[in-house]
Symmetry: C2
Subunit: 616 residues, 2 copies
């Protein structure tokens, strides 16, 4: 049986957390106090009996990690760190103010937090990535993930559960705050604790089912953390708004601060005595189990080289580059969604199995795991077919909010994949990845530019996306060529150019063919390899457009919206340049690559016809 003094002190802390959550949200005029109140006992007990953390040093690699997957419980997160001594309690008054680090949903702007959460069902994947990173580094820290019950409806949660049990992440603990009430109505399973237990067990987890307001049960469940052999879910039956009689276990109080009078009443109900507060002051977060830690040293990669004219798919060069990067830098990881023999990340697996993570067919979790790995200092390259990365858009969006510098590679871009048909063709990935703040979007046309760009991605401090192509394409660059992010290559030019043709990836080769066809007709065009789609080389595009009769023709194996044509049109606007966009303008069919490039008018002939029409 647990020590009654300890339980009294924890109860006091938990009620202080509730009071902070109520006070700060009422002051802010918005927020989710009742969601904080259901989880307060669980969180107080976690921080003051289990957590091992160097509070003044959030970047200490031996720290346990805490992820609030239910990001709307942010006031509780801030409150418990304040009570843990991270910063003065008064700072909680700045909740949701524009200049504050205490945002409505937590981001790493708050120093004690390693990811952005608030889109539900993502935290467990991120936590699993952290847990995997810690394990592979031999760090004995644990990852605690506070989850809501409503968010277990998100499939990504079950992707993460399957992943965590497959990799036997017994350093991962999910604490599920089953408070029964969603935003707009009761959850699907309400307080059916046995249904939750069956689901987690079926996905390979150890499970404890407890009353989340009974400290005896909470502490017993936490005891088992030391000995579990598998990932561990603590399923806690709780009441939303616990402790404030006016709102406890009542519908209609999601995402609403208590009005001042109700807040005052609730605080009065919850307020410990001064003596209790004094006694609870002894509670401390324990320091981490420390050990020596050597920041892994990264060297300069020796990139593979290719021969001019050699036929190499850019997706294969991506695999080559990953291996080269992996050799130079032990922080480089590769993640796959069971397409490694298509994306060629299997090359990395062959050399560095200990830094390869097979995520199976679960792209959301793959991206979440990558985000978690960045928190452990890794440089994770996650790859799949470009089209299937759309599955993870919300995760990528949240990665950007969390400033997690993940690297993504989408292979099998566009209609050039051929017969597999539209479901397998990435035709909206440029639009998706361009819309990620501070992202870079790279689209190489040959093997040399691919490996150079992969090297740049690894050192870019934000989200970087590489788009690769299924068919082989000839090497067109010398191995000494450099490809700075934000640049482009003018591959053909003369003083007589009548138009600038901008290609990238597969369409660059069509542009080069069009150049030859037109040359035989005595017509010169300028050809640009737009390998950096974001950021764009505005200056070169404007200059070339102006030097070639004010005509730019963009050609892309992508839908027009949000793609290269629109990016270029926006970049050169106001400079008297006409931008004609060749792009895929309907849902394509199955067919041979050359048939499809022709049918959707992004091949050499379409370029030739467009040039001739433009100068007529």
């Amino acid at each position: 049986m647990a020590n009654p003094q300890l339980i009294e002190a924890l109860q006091t802390k938990a009620n202080l957390l509730r009071i902070h959550s109520i006070r700060s949200t009422t002051r802010a005029g918005s927020g989710h106090p009742t969601t904080c109140m259901s989880a307060a006992d669980l969180v107080a007990a976690l921080f003051f009996t289990r957590l091992r953390y160097d509070v003044p040093n959030p970047r200490n690699p031996f720290n346990d990690r805490v992820v609030f997957s239910k990001g709307h419980a942010a006031p509780l997160l801030y409150a418990v760190w304040a009570e843990a001594g991270a910063f003065p309690v008064e700072h909680l008054d700045t909740l949701r103010e524009f200049t504050s680090d205490l945002e409505g949903h937590p981001t790493p702007r708050f120093r004690w937090y390693g990811a952005a959460t608030g889109s539900l069902g993502q935290g467990l994947s991120i936590a699993a990535g952290m847990a995997l990173g810690l394990k592979r580094d031999g760090i004995p820290a644990r990852v605690y993930c506070l989850m809501g019950d409503g968010e277990t409806a998100e499939g990504a949660v079950w992707e993460a559960c399957a992943f965590a049990s497959h990799y036997q992440l017994n350093n991962l603990i999910a604490i599920v705050d089953v408070n029964r009430l969603g935003q707009s109505q009761p959850t699907m399973l309400q307080h059916d604790m046995e249904a939750y237990a069956q689901r987690f067990r079926a996905f390979g987890w150890e499970v404890a089912t407890i009353d989340g307001h009974d400290f005896e049960q909470i502490l017993n469940a936490y005891e088992r953390i030391e000995t579990v052999q598998r990932p561990y879910a603590i399923l806690a039956r709780t009441l939303k708004g616990k402790g404030a009689s006016a709102v406890e276990n009542k519908e209609g109080w999601h995402g609403k601060p208590l009005p001042p009078d109700m807040a005052e009443q609730a605080i009065a109900e919850l307020m410990p005595t001064p003596e209790q507060i004094e006694r609870a002051r002894a509670l401390r977060v324990q320091p981490p189990v420390s050990a020596e830690w050597k920041e892994p040293a990264a060297g300069t990669p020796t990139l593979p080289t290719y021969t001019l004219g050699q036929q190499v798919a850019t997706r294969e060069a991506y695999g080559d580059a990953l291996v080269a990067l992996g050799k130079a830098n032990p922080a480089v990881y590769a993640l796959d969604g069971d397409v490694k023999n298509s994306t060629f990340s299997e090359k990395f697996l062959a050399v560095f199995p200990e830094r390869f993570v097979e995520c199976f067919i679960a792209e959301q979790n793959m991206v979440g795991v990558a985000v978690g790995l960045t928190d452990c200092g890794k440089i994770p390259f996650a790859s799949s077919f470009a089209c299937f990365l759309t599955r993870a858009f919300d995760f990528i969006r949240m990665a950007a909010i969390g400033r997690a510098p993940i690297k993504l590679c989408g292979s099998h871009a566009g209609v050039s994949i051929g017969e597999d048909g539209p479901s397998q063709m990435g035709l909206e990935d440029i639009a998706m990845m361009r819309a990620i703040p501070d992202s870079v979007v790279l689209y190489p046309a040959d093997a040399v530019s691919t490996v150079k760009l992969v090297e740049r991605m690894a050192i870019y401090p934000g989200i970087a996306y590489l788009r690769t192509t299924r068919p082989k394409t000839p090497v067109i660059y010398d191995n000494s060529e450099e490809f700075p992010i934000g640049g482009c290559k003018v591959l053909r030019q003369s003083g007589q150019d009548v138009a600038t043709v901008v290609g990238a990836g597969i369409t660059l080769h069509e542009a080069l063919k069009a150049y030859e066809i037109l040359r035989e007709q005595g017509i010169a065009i300028r050809v640009i390899d737009l390998y950096s789609v974001k950021p764009l080389d505005h200056e070169t595009l404007i200059r070339c457009g102006q030097e070639t009769g004010g005509r730019i023709i963009t050609v892309e194996d992508h839908y027009p919206e949000g793609g290269i044509g629109e990016a270029v049109a926006a970049a050169v606007q106001g400079h008297g340049i006409r931008v004609i966009s060749l792009a895929v303008r309907e849902v394509p069919r199955s067919g041979k690559p050359e048939t499809l490039l022709a049918a959707y008018r992004i091949n050499a002939n379409a370029i030739v016809e467009t040039v001739l029409e433009a100068i007529r």
Copy 2:
């Protein structure tokens, strides 16, 4: 015990399906024969003992539905419909040809198929939508969903499982072809049939675990279909490449046709005797359980009206419009992801609970269910926060490939939501939805335009997206105003306009404020309400740009990429117009709406400053 003649005939049919799958993929030079071979016995028995279908009339509403969630088994799908008499077997030779309806992965271009599949883990959601639609219409048909084992790693599968058991869809049967081998390696669970059984059971399904090549067991499992009380998963242990000794149960044969010599050998192994083929000819698909069916009649909705100047959030007007549509047309459905009190789809629930579908926090499944409902003739409006629709991008992409005319509404667009912070702000939804082929993207600024646009969405024959705003905005239109898709409204104009300011939604009101501020300084601007973001009214934009000094300023509560600014820049390119884009250019913080509109320079002051700078 089952009739041995029946079993022999089914075995013959199954081997013919295998032969067709091998032959057509070898001929095409690509495709997935081994995936077809593992499922052939299951599919033969399904079609020739269970399925009830009016083969010449795929649109007969009483037909059972068949969804191949493992869309790469398309050759098997086509083969079984050929053997069912839908079309001559010779047509299978056109597999994967450009002009053929037999695409690499199936789409409704193939008449006997109601959705596009091929992005794994989506079929069960679509099937669940069909099953729900049939149930609510009182149609006694069933939905059969053939799934792969690898795709059960996708969380969306578990969203669909939870949904199906919650709604007690005992007319939904999942047939899981557990062939152990993924694309690049064995699956996570390989042949651990008990793990699969536990998972489906934990999610509330009835389960049968069988040998998927033992017809006795298959038929016994199919018998239970008549009596199950819940959704039913038949988990079948199978061998990939079953029946061709050279590839059976071997790695490295995913997505590869057999070379001609191996194909010949395999076909020789599988070929039934002429007598067996003759005896199997008696197998037939049974006709559906027919009944009278009256196409529901749709009237003209009586839309709600508003008063000029009245403060109404467009999200609330969306709810009003849904109710009006629902009254006029019994095909209108509303779907929610537990935010109905924020999107205001709760208004529809209050009046039409029988046509409301609560999907809980599972946006992928919500969109999949909507796709399935379209196959039952419904007009489903699925709504959530705009940012959370990114969760379903891959489903929306596939809906477009499947020509499923779903309607989506994303609320809480942009920084104007305020303190909840960036995780809750839709800032990339316009980019996402514009990149959907043939989509329309609508963005009303007031209640009148909202209800008019929702009415247009319902009759638009493709995917339509409505973007709504959290704060209340004043009604600016008379109730008689019309809002055709592809139009815009010129709200302020004079012969002295120095620039055209294009706003939409919340920013239109900032543009109108800027107009007033500038007017006091003696400067006239033109103001356009770009309520139709896609398609765009090119003509009006070009004309206004040209009439106002060649200056257009776009203002949007969205990131610049793929948004209104780029769309307008691309639309007016070549006409000597400068397009200045005001948009959110970094990850925003929490704060008051007006603070954020100012901080990210999309408010009236930013517009005024931009106009003054542009004309300086």
